[in-house]
Symmetry: C2
Subunit: 345 residues, 2 copies
């Protein structure tokens, strides 16, 4: 029935080495207060037997699992996969595992995942909440009673640290850049307006165009190529078509780019394009696409570092008193699609 576990155990090592279990335990835990000779001998046996400690037993003794959960909408998304890569590296250097769970931005999957992770005793969680205002998620998380760090999107009303890029400032910078180029009718295209990040970016766009006395031209219905093409067609059909488009996320940027190409709209001559989020080919396409770049890997890394800092003390976890908000700066990468000449970056 049960999997026959032929892996050697600590007491086997002890027997083979002719020492007590305590000594072996000390050896595998750094070898404090062990005679160097004994230490060497035990180590040799460990090597010979290929012994590795049974984590389950250690955990049972009340120790940390050395596993953290990473809860994001999708790991196929380049943004989150890059975060994951960085978080994984940080986890590894903290001798921990990274357990990836994807939620498809679905609240109930999110909560279920939290529960699963908790029953596996994850030491902590990195989570990108689908809904920054969800009370249910907040409850699930606080019941978890382990440190949690929010990634990319904060969880309002909770005291957990959040690591995000400054979406508002990024969108502001983008919009301002287009305005400085002399564009007067700057359209903003996006989808998924329920996401915190998108909302912030919309806010940045809106504030900036309004402050400049320019019209707000907003289409929040872009979810795929078809809707992008439709949206752009209807923009073009206006009496006064926009002279620039600001797209709020990388897939929207790609769809928009593709649609503009297909409709043979010269970029940036007829319509300039600037996208939020950099992506691999933004530099390779013609014209190359100007973007707001987020420090993706930093986000993942810092989130994990923060988590391990809270995990750091061996002491019992207690929630931080003040919520921290870490906003990383974004960067405008000037390329051709906004009207800047090809860049040297």
């Amino acid at each position: 029935m049960r999997r026959k576990n032929n892996r050697p155990t600590l007491s086997e090592v002890a027997a083979r080495a002719g020492v007590g279990t305590t000594t072996v335990s000390r050896v595998i835990n750094g070898g404090d207060r062990v005679d160097p000779t004994t230490f060497a001998r035990v180590n040799k046996v460990i090597k010979a037997l290929g012994y590795t400690p049974n984590q389950a037993a250690r955990i049972l003794k009340g120790h940390r699992t050395r596993a953290i959960g990473f809860l994001v909408p999708s790991i196929a998304d380049p943004f989150f996969s890059s975060c994951a890569e960085a978080a994984q590296a940080t986890a590894r250097s903290n001798e921990s595992l990274l357990i990836v769970m994807t939620t498809q931005n679905n609240l109930s999957m999110e909560i279920e995942s939290v529960n699963v992770l908790m029953s596996h005793q994850a030491d902590g969680l990195i989570v990108a909440p689908s809904d920054s205002n969800s009370v249910d998620l907040r409850r699930a998380l606080s019941r978890a009673a382990v440190p949690v760090v929010a990634l990319d999107r904060p969880l309002c009303g909770s005291r957990m640290p959040s690591v995000l890029s400054d979406n508002f400032a990024g969108a502001e910078m983008a919009t301002r850049h287009l305005i400085e180029h002399g564009y007067r009718r700057i359209a903003c295209l996006t989808g998924e307006t329920n996401l915190y990040t998108i909302r912030e970016r919309m806010r940045g766009y809106r504030g900036t165009v309004e402050a400049a006395g320019l019209p707000v031209i907003l289409d929040t219905s872009i979810s795929d190529y078809v809707s992008a093409e439709t949206g752009i067609r209807s923009l073009l059909a206006r009496r006064q078509p926009p002279d620039a488009i600001f797209t709020l996320k990388n897939s929207t940027t790609m769809f928009t780019f593709e649609a503009l190409q297909k409709l043979r709209v010269p970029i940036p001559e007829s319509i300039a394009l600037l996208g939020y989020d950099d992506f691999e080919l933004a530099d390779a396409v013609r014209p190359s696409i100007t973007v707001i770049q987020q420090p993706v890997a930093d986000l993942g890394r810092i989130a994990a570092e923060l988590l391990f800092r809270e995990l750091g003390g061996d002491h019992e976890y207690k929630p931080t008193t003040r919520p921290q908000l870490i906003q990383l700066e974004t960067r405008l990468v000037r390329r051709a699609s906004c009207g800047c000449s090809a860049t040297t970056t």
Copy 2:
């Protein structure tokens, strides 16, 4: 010191419910052979206390961890992140966790990761070996004594099932397609020739051009944009520059595309381009890029399914007698860069 664990335990539940521990154990395991009344009463206590079983203890008793390892070079790579997404979904539907570890194609990290995963008692592993011939990895894996499935690259000499796409046939199909277009000097660009996949693709390219009596023009030094540009410059400098380029992996395709654009080489008029591996923007750029498409998500899913099939029986794991090789078919996606007109795909 140790994290104070105020989580209720099974015996607390038992005490509160006025029953023995066995009964509670039975209840949380489905409630077989328990009086419905008792069952309800115990369940009420469980709810009240917010009890969840301690996985570590269960695992220690010899049960499955319900966690599988996923060992790939990088999770930031779109190929592997898509595999991971699919594998994660499959894991979830098998009520298991996916533990992601990245190895940067580095053998010692790979072996260390296997050991870490084993000490955490992962039920099984999905692994993309950096070196298909590594004896050390094979040893580490066989010591693990859990089911392993190879992904994207087989591990030679072992009996584990491998799930890959048919790289040889894909490259053959690609090369043949270019030949059918009438190209006579087909260059092949790649890097990372130590990878199994690349080797197979090279083999497919070479065999096909040779069979057609065409010259083999192979540059295996492409690792980044700079080397791509250099490589292409030197191809162009030949007395007889190539009239088509076949790139063996998506990053190489992107670099090549970018370099050709920069050097103002008309595609496909002067040089046609066909790449192995589809990618997000291949369809969006102009000209759109013809590619060999691998069934990425299927690879991840099938690898995981295979693993769970082996895990399926509750019986002790014993290695499959015959190694299985599952080769998934690739698909030629005709777009503009090969000379086919824009596609309708």
